[in-house]
Amino acid sequence: MTRPRPRLSGLVLALVLMSPVSSRADDQDVIDYRQHIMKTMNEEAAAIAQILQQKIPAADFATHAEILAITAATAKKAFEPKVPGGEAKPVLWANWKDFSKRLDDLTAATADLARKAKEGGMAAAAPRVQSALTCDSCHDIYREKKD
């Protein structure tokens, strides 16, 4: 009965050594995940900007707005874990009600853009784009750019 013992303590040691590493990795995963969502919104907002500038035909405007609406809705879950880091200001979790309401508003406004574009074309949707894309007003408060 001497042999399993060293093996067991080896395993325990491995677990002890792993745990701080893996919890740090988890935090990084949480940050990476919400950044994937933000970067998606960035690509889609950029595509919408190109359409507004008439560089690109408007046929898919509603679809871009729809992706924004879907993605903004996913952001809420992504920011729920209170993991400071990345470019997120910690005050975001202290002001969670305000922060999550802003995400709800973005979801609603972009869904409305998609609807307006489908019903009335660009003429109906374009005037609402600036007020719908509230990206900067949230970033001003809750994001700390580290470029």
Partner: protein, 148 residues
């Protein structure tokens, strides 16, 4: 600068640029646009991948699949203008029939992924993810990653 901030100043800029560089600018816009769609696909696939490896909870899985399916649907049209550059190989346009067929298949497969996720659960769809997302098989033929 965020896309939104960029939008504010853009009218003046565009007017100033139009005179001499209109054609070059347009080509760049077309390349940028298809790359925005590809990068959307990339971020959303990465998000799904994190769920597949159980790095984050999968509550949003269906939403990510929906975003991928919508982006996939827009992709073929973004490549229609025959504008070489970016990481696109010239074969995109010389083999257009094959390329656009792959794009159509991609859109169909991602629709199927959403349908399966909604009817049989996200986990079932995730089990087939490689099948639904033929990103690499297209890139192997039509994308040159050494560019840029």
């Amino acid at each position: 600068m965020s896309p939104v901030t960029r939008m504010y100043g853009v009218v003046a800029m565009v007017t100033a640029l139009i005179a001499s560089n209109a054609i070059a600018a347009d080509d760049k816009e077309i390349i940028d646009y298809r790359e925005h769609i590809m990068k959307t696909l990339n971020e959303q696939s990465a998000a799904l991948g994190m769920m597949l490896s159980m790095a984050v909870p999968d509550d949003n899985a269906i939403a990510h699949m929906e975003a991928i399916a919508l982006a996939a649907k827009m992709a073929p049209k973004a490549f229609e203008p025959k504008v070489q550059g970016g990481q696109s190989k010239p074969e995109v346009w010389t083999n257009w029939d094959d390329f656009s067929k792959r794009m159509d298949d991609f859109a169909k497969k991602t629709d199927e992924m959403v349908r399966v996720a909604k009817t049989k659960g996200a986990a079932t769809a995730m089990g087939n993810i490689i099948e639904y997302l033929p990103c690499k098989s297209c890139h192997d033929v039509y994308r040159d990653e050494s560019k840029k």
